[in-house]
């Protein structure tokens, strides 16, 4: 059968640096093809060539057997190739329906008309999104749904999904996979980029693995299992050490001093009357579905947002009642929050690695001397990039130029220079490749061993189970259940989170 899209010996260079080297790839009509690899392996570049975002440096792109060279994503879309981007490409100030019809509006664009047809269309996809909502009001998962709906709406023959499930809850993922199956039965070909290997194994027909811009293997999904994929991705086996195998549980760390106690905390609709405590010298995992108020609770504790003025509850740090108006106060008291969205609020994109780290030292007033010292800055950066194993050309490189895992290490270094007593990690391994996850987990474990109070918020159960000494489960804005490490199981935690 003739492939619908084919790449022949494609090389793509950015300013002389190859992102893809001599890669060939083909997509059969009506198949689901998973594209796997670590961050920086070239998955996004490969698919962006097909979607008309990048042009090839050498090699050929064939669509339906004919050589094509797309200059813009619009040209690719005309040939029936649509891409759902990792970073959302929706217009925040328009409604869901307006976004769906963006670029296809009739001359007289009757709003009521598009709301009705958008409603029907979204329902046919089983997406619970209100078409009259503004995109800026939607959560990350709902934005993703609209993005997917838009690709389907364009009646594309090929749809490329870049990390579609990263922000979805289990239930939404279930809907998403049934949608993929339906698209497939309609003859649509799908390329699926993911870090979640189980999903790739469950949904795809074939798997292609890239490593360092080169093609490693393409084969039928039946020939793969988890270990074989990871092996091909990183060139080594580390599945076991990553998410500790069942049975070899370590002993939980003992409870240290009670460092933080939260009583009846409330904020708007997101945090409702929640109470819990955090102890030093151990890792407290907070698990919950998206929208369960985990992030908001963490942001109140660290002063990023304020709690309700009336009936807002109480936060005690080492027995002392605190109420922060700005994060600066929390930082000075030793509470730091490591954001879930590093691109938006994790680092300064025009600044170097070294200055990014140093600026947080300055912000906490922990620098030596009165003026800014560039030798202190380089020394500090050297210390932390070595300690956290940040891989970059040098510490003067800008943080945006690093891979996701290395960016996250810099973000963590930024927090650690502030010498926290309590550090809150919000989704510390989101968008991070397999190799770096192990390193980040190692760092987090070390922090707890050194006596810090560590909180890890995660939507990924194996991560919580592997890292945490005790697990709090959050649901609808409050902590509803607490498990110790010994008696926590995936089933129990999930049951508490959804019921």
């Amino acid at each position: 059968m003739q492939p619908i899209v084919e790449l022949k010996n494609v090389t793509k260079e950015f300013y002389g640096v190859p992102a893809l080297r001599d890669v060939s790839f083909d997509l059969a009509p009506g198949e689901v093809h998973a594209l796997l690899g670590e961050n920086g392996a070239g998955k996004s570049t490969l698919t962006k060539i097909m979607a008309g975002v990048h042009e090839v440096t050498t090699g050929e792109l064939l669509v339906d057997g004919k050589v094509e060279s797309f200059k813009t994503p619009a040209e690719a879309l005309q040939k029936g190739i649509a891409m759902v981007f990792q970073e959302t490409s929706l217009v925040p100030s328009l409604t869901v329906a307006q976004n769906l019809y963006l670029g296809n509006e009739k001359f007289l664009n009757r709003l009521r008309g598009i709301y009705i047809s958008a409603q029907q269309f979204l329902q046919s996809l089983n997406f619970g999104v209100d078409p009259t909502m503004f995109v800026s009001q939607l959560g990350a998962a709902q934005k993703q749904m609209v993005e997917i709906a838009r690709a389907v709406h364009h009646k594309a023959k090929v749809i490329i999904f870049d990390e579609p499930t990263a922000t979805l809850t289990p239930e939404e993922k279930h809907h998403f996979f049934s949608l993929i199956r339906r698209l497939k039965s309609d003859g649509v070909s799908i390329i699926f980029i993911s870090h979640a290997l189980e999903e790739a194994l469950a949904i795809s027909d074939r798997i292609t693995i890239l490593r360092d811009g080169q093609h490693v293997i393409t084969d039928d999904v039946k020939k793969f299992d988890r270990d074989k994929i990871i092996n091909a991705m990183v060139g080594r086996t580390l599945s076991g050490e990553l998410y500790g195998k069942a049975g070899d549980k370590r002993a939980p760390r003992p409870y240290g001093q009670k460092i933080l106690s939260v009583q009846n905390l409330s904020m708007g609709k997101m945090v409702r009357n929640t109470s819990f405590s955090i102890y030093s010298g151990q890792i407290t995992g907070i698990f919950g579905l998206i929208g369960s108020g985990r992030t908001e609770t963490a942001k109140i504790i660290s002063g990023v947002v304020k709690r309700d003025f009336f009936h807002g509850g109480e936060v005690k740090l080492e027995g002392r009642s605190v109420r922060y108006r700005v994060p600066r106060k929390a930082v000075k008291d030793g509470i730091v929050y490591v954001t879930e969205d590093r691109k938006l609020e994790g680092f300064f994109e025009t600044k170097s690695i070294a200055e990014n780290i140093y600026l947080n030292l300055l912000a906490a007033d922990l620098n030596k001397g009165l003026t800014v010292s560039y030798s202190e800055m380089m020394e500090l950066a050297r210390h932390w990039t070595e300690k956290l194993n940040v891989r970059a050309i040098n510490n003067s490189a800008r943080v945006v130029e690093l891979s996701g895992g290395n960016q996250q290490k810099v973000v963590i270094a930024r927090s650690l220079v502030q010498r926290p007593k309590l550090i809150i990690f919000d989704e510390p391994t989101r968008g991070v490749d397999v190799g770096a996850i192990a390193e980040l987990h190692h760092v987090i474990n070390q922090l707890a061993d050194s006596g810090l109070a560590v909180v890890v918020i995660s939507s990924y159960l194996p991560e919580v189970l592997n890292l945490a000494d005790r697990i709090l489960v959050s649901r609808q804005g409050r902590v509803v259940e607490e498990f110790s490490m010994e008696d926590a199981t995936e089933e129990k935690i999930m049951y508490a989170a959804v019921h």
């Binding site: 950015f14 300013y15 992102a19 961050n39 920086g40 070239g42 996004s44 570049t45 962006k48 975002v53 990048h54 990792q86 970073e87 660290s302 990023v304 700005v326 994060p327 600066r328 929390a330 930082v331 000075k332 929050y337 954001t339 691109k343 938006l344 609020e345 994790g346 680092f347 300064f348 994109e349 025009t350 600044k351 200055e355 600026l359 947080n360 300055l362 912000a363 906490a364 620098n367 003026t371 800014v372 945006v400 130029e401 690093l402 891979s403 996701g404 960016q407 930024r414 502030q418 968008g431």
Partner: protein, 332 residues
């Protein structure tokens, strides 16, 4: 065209600052060849001198723009605070107290601007536009009596030397501009508030979460700009023997933004330094001087100025494209 430029190799490392610098050098060379009097030492000094005030104001604007703001009240602040100072001296107040009053007025007004922007969260464009109108209206109505022009009193004292006279053969306005540039450089590079302003301009949320005092820093940057405006006003008044308050209604504030943007300072904040402003100011200086010698009309001069700005910005966007590729690095 983009491919052509990129294929030249070394050209790839050009940015707007370097383009503007090269443009300045080229213009300078061309003017030197075709205009007989251009290269004379006197003309070069008067060239720089003519843009000294613009450069000083540009440095004030730089500090605000780095923090992702803009200050449209600089010229109004400069004109009214200095005009009031001069009037107080004429009315018999001692020079030192009159200058202090004028400076405090400039700082006070910019403090209000800063508070409005940082705490009342009014966008800087509107807050400074409103404050410019307020300062000018209030000044003309209640502080400055008589005509639009306040002349320099004869007994102004040593301050006269800031605008007139030379030191080691260099006109003092150039030295004042150089001193302000040096202080601004040291402030931005070696002090905490200086680095914080860069950080806040780059990413306000990250700066806040990291524990920087973001709102006080916003206020600080406007207050500094106000102080710099006062210095620029003193230089203007002493070199021209008067402060003409109608300068508020001229397009001077656009020229200030022009030199800042021309030099390659990003209006989106966080990108740029003192060097950019110096390069932008020099280009305008060379251009204006050359065109004046050529006796071009004022309107033609404005057209040329605006074309140069457009060329610099377009060249920069071709050489340093801001597309998906650069906007979304990290996962290639």
């Amino acid at each position: 065209m983009g491919n052509l430029i990129k294929s030249l190799g070394a050209v790839r490392y050009l940015n707007q600052e370097k383009i503007v610098f090269l443009l300045t050098v080229m213009l300078f060379a061309v003017f030197s060849l075709i205009l007989p009097n251009f290269l004379a030492a006197n003309n070069i000094l008067s060239l720089i001198r003519s843009v000294a005030v613009l450069g000083i104001l540009g440095l004030g604007m730089l500090i605000v723009v780095l923090g992702r703001g803009i200050d449209l009240s600089l010229v109004a602040n400069m004109a009214i605070s200095v005009a009031w100072s001069l009037q107080l001296v004429s009315g018999g107040m001692s020079v030192a107290s009159a200058m202090t009053v004028g400076l405090l007025f400039a700082l006070g007004m910019s403090l209000i601007t800063g508070l409005l922007i940082a705490y009342a969260e009014i966008p800087s464009l509107f807050a400074t536009l409103a404050m410019a109108t307020f300062v000018y209206g209030f000044g003309r109505a209640h502080l400055i009596t008589g005509t639009d022009v306040v002349y320099l009193p004869s007994d102004i004292g040593w301050i006269i030397h800031l605008g007139q006279g030379t030191l080691l053969g260099i006109p003092t306005p150039i030295l004042v501009a150089g001193a302000v540039a040096l202080i601004a450089y040291l402030f931005l590079r070696f002090t905490k508030p200086g680095r914080f302003i860069y950080a806040i301009g780059d990413n306000f949320v990250t700066a806040r979460t990291g524990g920087m005092p973001v709102r006080p820093m916003l206020v600080v940057q406007y207050v500094i700009a106000g102080g710099i405006a006062f210095i620029a006003g003193i230089v203007t008044a002493t070199s021209a023997q008067a402060m003409n308050t109608r300068v508020v209604n001229s397009n001077m504030i656009y020229d200030v933004i022009l030199v800042v943007v021309l030099g390659g300072v990003g209006l989106s904040g966080g990108r740029g330094n003192v060097r950019n402003v110096i390069v932008g100011t020099l280009l305008i200086g060379v251009l204006m001087n050359g065109m004046t010698i050529m006796d071009l009309q004022y309107t033609v001069q404005n057209v040329v100025k605006s074309l140069i700005l457009l060329v610099a910005i377009v060249a920069d966007s071709i050489l340093n494209p801001r597309d998906e590729q650069t906007g979304q690095q990290g996962d290639i």
